[in-house]
Symmetry: C2
Subunit: 330 residues, 2 copies
């Protein structure tokens, strides 16, 4: 295993120290492992908290800032954070208007966010939760009952964050978060496994020209394995799966996401194939992201996420955002 780390035990702690050093607009509570916006809670603003296992950077810490998250709670690599740091984050961002938990659909995340929400309620903090479950690849999987939560998380955090920033109440922010999730679908394909530092070896093995279709973001199995094909065919595999569940004939927000080890050059080749596929279906990619937004350590591969936009969702997507990983309009 070749990793740029100091020791297997300190991967997340050292990375958090680096995030703290690199981004003066963030505050990192190294003890509780909570990343918040500097300057404390915003009075009267709904607080947004997300989190989950580390290894998906820039998710979630890179999305903390104006117009997006108020706090991120990173667990160990591919391991849910415990209820206590989630509670600490919830308390830290509570400005009196309640807190929204954005939770990816993994059993550990669901349980621990739920427990933290109950503890927060005991402290008089109103908490709402939205569960993101956009991955059409599999029903149930290694860590999930129902569909997994993947790329739509980025869309939910951005759009709900914009709604909170403009002063909406907790019910309205939770409603738009749920709406984005319902209108979004994802599918991912892996060319290689990732290697979890603590494991020291690849999570799974693929043959020289073999790929995994419908992969999750933790190296958990997908739908099937098959031969490597041209990018345009892989884009069609992903989009056929998405289109079976979500009409692609209107205005879309599309993300072509790298899994961490894939060059941007290749993601643009995929984006071109995705754009052609969507155009042939009568759709229009009104907004897009191409790059590494929700990764799986050093995995080579990609995912496609599509969200069926409405004028209101487009407006909220375009609203100013100022975080380490997404920044525009401000």
């Amino acid at each position: 295993m070749k990793k740029l780390i100091n020791s297997v035990d300190n991967v997340v702690a050292d990375a958090l120290a680096g995030i703290a050093a690199a981004h003066p607009a963030l505050r990192v509570d190294l003890e509780n492992r909570v990343i918040t916006r500097a300057g404390g809670p915003r009075a009267g603003k709904v607080g947004l908290v997300s989190g989950g296992g580390s290894g998906h950077e820039p998710l979630h810490g890179g999305y903390v800032g104006y117009g997006m998250l108020d706090a991120a709670v990173p667990g160990e690599v591919f391991t849910s954070p415990a209820p206590d740091p989630i509670l600490a984050a919830t308390t830290a961002v509570n400005g009196g208007a309640g807190v929204l938990h954005i939770v990816k659909n993994y059993t550990g995340d669901i349980l621990n966010f739920q427990m933290a929400a109950e503890l927060a309620a005991d402290e008089g903090i109103e908490v709402a939760s939205v569960v993101v479950n956009d991955d059409v690849a599999v029903q149930d999987s290694l860590y999930t009952a129902g569909r997994r939560g993947v790329g739509a998380t980025v869309f939910v955090e951005k759009i709900a964050g914009a709604r909170a920033e403009e002063g909406a109440d907790l019910a309205a922010v939770a409603a738009v978060a749920a709406e984005v999730n319902e209108r979004s679908r994802s599918f991912g394909i892996a060319l290689t496994s990732c290697t979890v530092p603590a494991a020291g070896k690849p999570t799974f093995t693929l043959a020289e020209s073999e790929i995994e279709l419908g992969i999750g973001i933790h190296g958990e199995p997908g739908r099937s394995r098959g031969p490597l094909r041209p990018a345009s065919e892989l884009a069609a595999v992903a989009l056929d799966a998405i289109a079976a569940d979500l009409p692609l004939d209107g205005d879309l927000l599309v993300m072509v996401n790298g899994m961490g080890g894939t060059p941007l050059l290749e993601l643009y080749i995929l984006y071109q194939a995705v754009a052609e596929y969507v155009a042939a279906r009568g759709g229009r990619i009104a907004r897009n992201l191409v790059g590494n937004y929700i990764t799986s350590l050093d995995m080579q591969g990609f995912s496609v996420t599509a969200c069926a936009l409405t004028p209101e969702l487009t407006r909220l997507w375009d609203a100013p955002v100022d975080t380490p990983a997404l920044r525009w309009g401000r």
Copy 2:
């Protein structure tokens, strides 16, 4: 070889089509292979052109936009663009105030940009050139006489771009570009080779726990090979090499750059080590970038670039920029 491509012959063409589809603020001349800002040349503004082999994305196409480059000229993977597309780019961005060529120090780039500059001069366009040569790892190398041009290119493009945007003349823009280059140094370390699509196999081979110190961005050899070490020691190797040539005791702009296949989590671990090293030398990292900014396809590894800031360079760094890969303040 596992690549998300349609065919080995169409890698750059397909990626350019994807860039065109993804970024409406850019215009991509698919025939000449030139990426420019939409809206034609800015009258009275110095035009900035850079380019070189593809495979280093987001360099250079991702830096075309307000406050940075006016045009990028991508060659084939790791291959200099010919004089003709460089001339086409130069002509396309000429707003009457002259054009600055930002050239990384590789023999092919130097020759072809020089020839394009002469052809542009024949057409009555005033062209100045700055050669970026910040890599302290080796004197001369496979593709270079003298030091190679690497990470400082990003700093030069940003800071010269800001100076051009505020209306400076060609001599002033060229002067600040040269100043940034003179005040910047880089060093890179590879954990793995990259694989050039046309070659179909890794450019070089490293043993299971072996790394290459002082690597270039094309897989060309560095200073030496050695065993993998903790991130803090690797940061010290890179910074010792830089510090031998550039004092690190003042305000610095520091980039911890991923080579394309390295997770952001690891880059933050490295950044923390870099920040500690600099602080111990009495320096201060006033500004930073952590991420994939000048890559080498799918190589795993990193580079560190440091620039000794002045108040004026800091002001220009902070000036608004709006490109696919760098965006703030606007």
